[in-house]
């Protein structure tokens, strides 16, 4: 078995979700690494967009900020935040990757506060572009380490919409139709959402983990797909690209 760490399998699995010719709105860190890996493997024509305005750059290295020079290096266009967000709003952007301090069974995310809003125990950055991407992009994915403090029954603050309260609640909310959470990729498993209840459902478990491990590291009850796959671990080529070309200084994969 090839040796890899949690971040490397999350990024490799995420990259495989991005088909050639798709558009993806990404942030810095793991999402950007996944998009770069997809470009170097199965999706050379993947269109990467950064919320500050960079469209389809030829990334020379991992950006530090979603607005730094690298995000529009040899790009198709150096646009504006409204260029990106309006493209998302018009339905031009297929995927986005997000994260957060907390996630619930409907894929809603909290990146605003722990405790109450008026007098928070911990203040986080807030939505940034996360709510916008999750509202507009057709398929929202989350890459996050799995533990029961992060996968919670109830969010302290619902910053970014997943399937809201499940069922038809998102369709009735006013958010663009047919957009929503698609897959949740953790260090242990891949989850999707059961189509009617919109509850999180385990569809694939990574090598070395059991269904019990996955449930034990989640505070709400996970649904189980009829047939649960075993995740294909990162290939030697994926690991080589990640370690040598995409993240040689291990900014992301060294976390």
């Amino acid at each position: 078995m090839t040796d890899y760490n949690a971040m490397e399998i999350m990024i490799s699995v995420a990259a495989r979700e991005l088909e050639n010719g798709a558009t993806v709105g990404v942030g810095t860190g793991a999402p950007c690494a996944a998009a770069m890996l997809a470009q170097k493997t199965s999706a050379p024509d993947l269109v990467i967009m950064f919320e500050a305005g960079g469209i389809s750059p030829n990334l020379p290295e991992m950006p530090i900020s979603v607005g730094d020079s690298r995000t529009f290096y040899k790009a198709a266009m150096a646009g504006s935040m409204n260029d990106i967000m309006e493209a998302c709003s018009r339905g031009f952007v297929d995927y986005t990757f997000l994260g957060g301090a907390q996630i619930d069974m409907y894929g809603n995310l909290n990146s605003t506060v722990i405790g109450n809003h008026a007098n928070p125990k911990v203040r986080f950055p807030g939505s940034g572009g996360a709510n916008d991407f999750a509202s507009f992009c057709w398929r929202m994915m989350v890459m996050t380490p799995q533990d029961s403090r992060r996968f919670v029954e109830k969010l302290d603050f619902l910053t970014t919409p997943g399937w809201l309260q499940g069922g038809d609640s998102r369709a009735n909310s006013g958010l663009p139709l047919d957009s929503g959470p698609y897959k949740i990729i953790t260090n242990m498993a891949i989850m999707d959402f059961e189509p009617v209840s919109k509850r999180m459902r385990v569809i694939s478990i990574h090598p070395g983990y059991s269904a019990k491990d996955v449930q034990d590291n989640c505070s709400f009850e996970l649904l189980q797909a009829a047939a649960i796959a075993q995740t294909m671990p990162p290939t030697a080529e994926e690991l080589r690209l990640l370690r040598e070309e995409i993240d040689p200084y291990r900014y992301v994969i060294g976390r």
Partner: protein
């Protein structure tokens, strides 16, 4: 229009376009020389209590020199547009110059981590907070730039983000769908850093615009800091490069390396070691005070700050990094 839902957050600024028009009517349209020292511009145009917006994107093409000057002059009770604010917010939080904030992105410095200083100030109870998102604030600036009281968007519905905002959800009179109305945001004063400007304020910058064109149009008072002054002839030889026309501008300040330690596209990359130093010294109150004395309060201007952090040699290094010179290969 039937209001379906509305946020309980405070709206810090009046979105009334007629009041904004009445103000803009008074702005001087004459071609006058607006060049002044940054110290003078901040003293003249940033008043205690003003609502301030900072251009660029956190630590990218951000007027850092102006943020230092605002802190150095001990401005207080400002409102602040926390739109993609990172290192700019860190500086303004160190000076505790604002007491109310529209939040889109705050506290973090993206991949670099979170600022202890910004977080401590935000958790101190001294700051009134209304929640938004990056697009929501960009849309609010767009509404102001259009001279209308709001623009409709389709984000935030169903979340606590709208609950703690000051947006309203209504039924669209054309389609019957729900839309969110984002109220126009007319900042009292903004600062935008550019590559080149003439003495009248015609300004051009390269790379991504973020929300700066709308911000320039929306702002009541506008300070431009520029890497360099160029002639008006040069502006008029290539008018399609002008991103901000002169009549929006109140002051033009020539500040070479004005975005340092942030990134200025095509000129210099961010000084990551120095930004890490900021994040690390913030954790120790005494060290942080000494650090601020050295880098802000004890400096007369941005040149002195740069001189204390590596000077011309450091700028050469950051330029090489920006241009990826190490990746150039000979044939």
């Amino acid at each position: 229009m039937n209001i379906i839902d509305q946020g309980q957050g405070e709206l810090f600024l009046d979105p009334d376009p007629d009041k904004a028009r009445a103000f803009f009517r008074t702005k001087n349209r004459k071609l006058v020389n607006k060049v002044m020292d940054l110290k003078e511009a901040v003293a003249k145009f940033v008043q205690d209590g003003d609502y301030l917006a900072i251009g660029g994107f956190g630590a990218n093409r951000t007027p850092i020199a102006a943020c230092h000057e605002i802190v150095r002059q001990k401005k207080k009770n400002l409102g602040f547009a926390g739109h993609t604010s990172t290192h700019d917010m860190e500086i303004l939080s160190a000076g505790e110059v604002y007491n109310r904030i529209d939040v889109a992105y705050i506290i973090g410095l993206e991949a670099r981590g979170l600022s202890t200083c910004s977080r401590r100030y935000m958790e101190s109870g001294k700051v009134k907070v209304t929640e938004w998102t990056n697009y929501s604030l960009a849309a609010r600036l767009r509404a102001a730039a259009m001279g209308v009281p709001f623009v409709p968007t389709r984000n935030v519905m169903g979340t606590d983000t709208i609950k703690y905002s000051a947006a309203k959800t209504v039924e669209c009179p054309f389609t019957g769908k729900k839309v969110v109305l984002m109220p126009a945001l007319y900042p009292d004063v903004s600062v935008i850093h550019v590559h080149e400007a003439d003495i009248f304020g015609n300004a051009r910058f390269k790379g991504i615009a973020v929300a700066d064109v709308d911000l320039a149009n929306a702002s009541k008072k506008l300070i431009i800091t520029t890497e360099k002054l160029i002639t008006s002839d040069e502006i008029r030889r290539d008018p399609s490069s002008t991103r901000i026309p002169y009549f929006l501008v109140d002051a033009v300040c020539e500040v070479p390396f004005g975005a340092y330690p942030g990134n200025m596209p095509y000129e210099y990359f961010s000084d990551e070691a120095h930004l890490r130093e900021w994040l690390s010294v913030e954790k120790d109150a005494e060290k942080f005070k000494a650090f601020l004395d050295k880098n802000i309060y004890g400096c007369n201007n941005h040149e002195e700050y740069i001189a204390r952090n590596g000077g011309a040699e450091k700028m050469r290094e950051l330029r090489a990094k920006e241009l990826l010179l190490s990746k150039e290969v000979s044939s």
